[in-house]
Symmetry: C2
Subunit: 298 residues, 2 copies
Amino acid sequence: MAVLVECVPNFSEGSNLEKVAKIIAPFNSTQGVKLLDYSSDRDHNRTVVTVMGEPKSVKNAMIEAAGIALQEIDLRCHQGEHPRMGAVDVVPFIPIQNYTMEEAVVLARETAQDLASRYDLPIFLYEKAATQPARENLANIRKGEFEGMSEKLLLPEWKPDFGPDSIHPSAGVTAVGARMPLVAFNINLNTNNLEIAHQIARCIRHISGGLRYCKAMGVELKERNIVQVSINMTDYTKTALYRVFEMVRFEARRYGVEIVGSEIIGLAPMAALVDAAVYYMRLEDFKMEQIIEQRMLE
Amino acid sequence: MAVLVECVPNFSEGSNLEKVAKIIAPFNSTQGVKLLDYSSDRDHNRTVVTVMGEPKSVKNAMIEAAGIALQEIDLRCHQGEHPRMGAVDVVPFIPIQNYTMEEAVVLARETAQDLASRYDLPIFLYEKAATQPARENLANIRKGEFEGMSEKLLLPEWKPDFGPDSIHPSAGVTAVGARMPLVAFNINLNTNNLEIAHQIARCIRHISGGLRYCKAMGVELKERNIVQVSINMTDYTKTALYRVFEMVRFEARRYGVEIVGSEIIGLAPMAALVDAAVYYMRLEDFKMEQIIEQRMLE
């Protein structure tokens, strides 16, 4: 079975595309790694890269790309709208296939250690890889940005997890973490009553008593004159898409409202969809290896 | 988007595993081709190989493997339980992704032409690639087997589609065709009344008035003390799995019987399952490219 991890590094360069091409080159040239997507934003002066592949290969390509980014990017003369604290700003690892979150956390820590020792770069671990609760939220780590980071690192509670206790002069600090893939899953209702979408969102989302890995809110789709429960699934392996779908269905029923459709925005892991097929068709003992295309990934 | 075709060649050698290794070597060494599976049966004296990949690469690997098979196999001294007419007995191409049946038929014909001209081998086209109705069914072509093929080829209606009008002395004739992937999909009922499974099978299968690409029969699962509607889906792109499932559900209802589970035996294309998720969760505008793993195949 294929072992796949996704990595979505954010680099603080989005205007000089020659530099961007140099930085992402290792993702194209490393065996076992596939560059799925990258987008550079001039206003943010930032490039978001999506790669996937065999974990060690992804890690090695990532370390190589970071080395190039450190040569190409000098944060002392960097301007952009997006908050940033490092040339290699954030490096999240996301388990996709046959890879546990625990393994992704280990990979994040190994990557952090290598980045720190090879480039003398201070690293904070975040989200599932965090070593303390205050570092789980990336925004906490990034607060103060590059310009305020020298001072922040003087505080004992902001001693980096790896690397020196002071910033890299031109590259600041980097956050390396592990998180689950997000699935953006919206469910449309045959009503234009926004209050109903709000009420259903309240029932299903974790924060107000609903499902553990579900964030939701009601939104209007004015062009279609209907409302939508807009949902972010933060761990589809534990809170399945079909469970949210069925819950929205039975909550809507009390208003005499029905689901008219749903949508997945952007990417979703294959298992998030196959799960639903397995549930609705009551498939017994189905294994992902039974999917022909899955064999091509092995 | 990845373009993928499957090929399941059957070679008339299943006891000398050194020969088998030589024959399948091109499927391991050709870029763009993946050897998914092969199994050699000594009693049948036959090896069934499953490969998948980019169409031209699969074709080239197939032609190379056939050349080796022609060197290694001499049907004049071949014995085995499985009916066979050639050293390279049958070569079916199966469209998997972003490849139409029409394209698979063209690929089958090109492969047939190349095999014929390169190895002076007579070829019959079969199933979707057949040039006349009597050649659609492989059993019709194979009737008489290797030993009777010289005489059969004297008949004007059995002039090969490509190659010489007489058999290859040691390798006989080869059938090359194109067909859809089969999905073996069984649905279990909460009754031990076999007659109910038979009745439901009659309602859903094509031959007795049911769905166009569905074959079905009732079988007993004695160990579980229940019955099953055992189904072969012959074109899941036109007769969807969920449609058969829902039809079995509403036919069972008249007997007060319910579906307790289902199973997919062996391999199924990803789209056969994703289709069901899209139907049951009413997904609008979902595209296979939204599946993360799919991107790895591109």
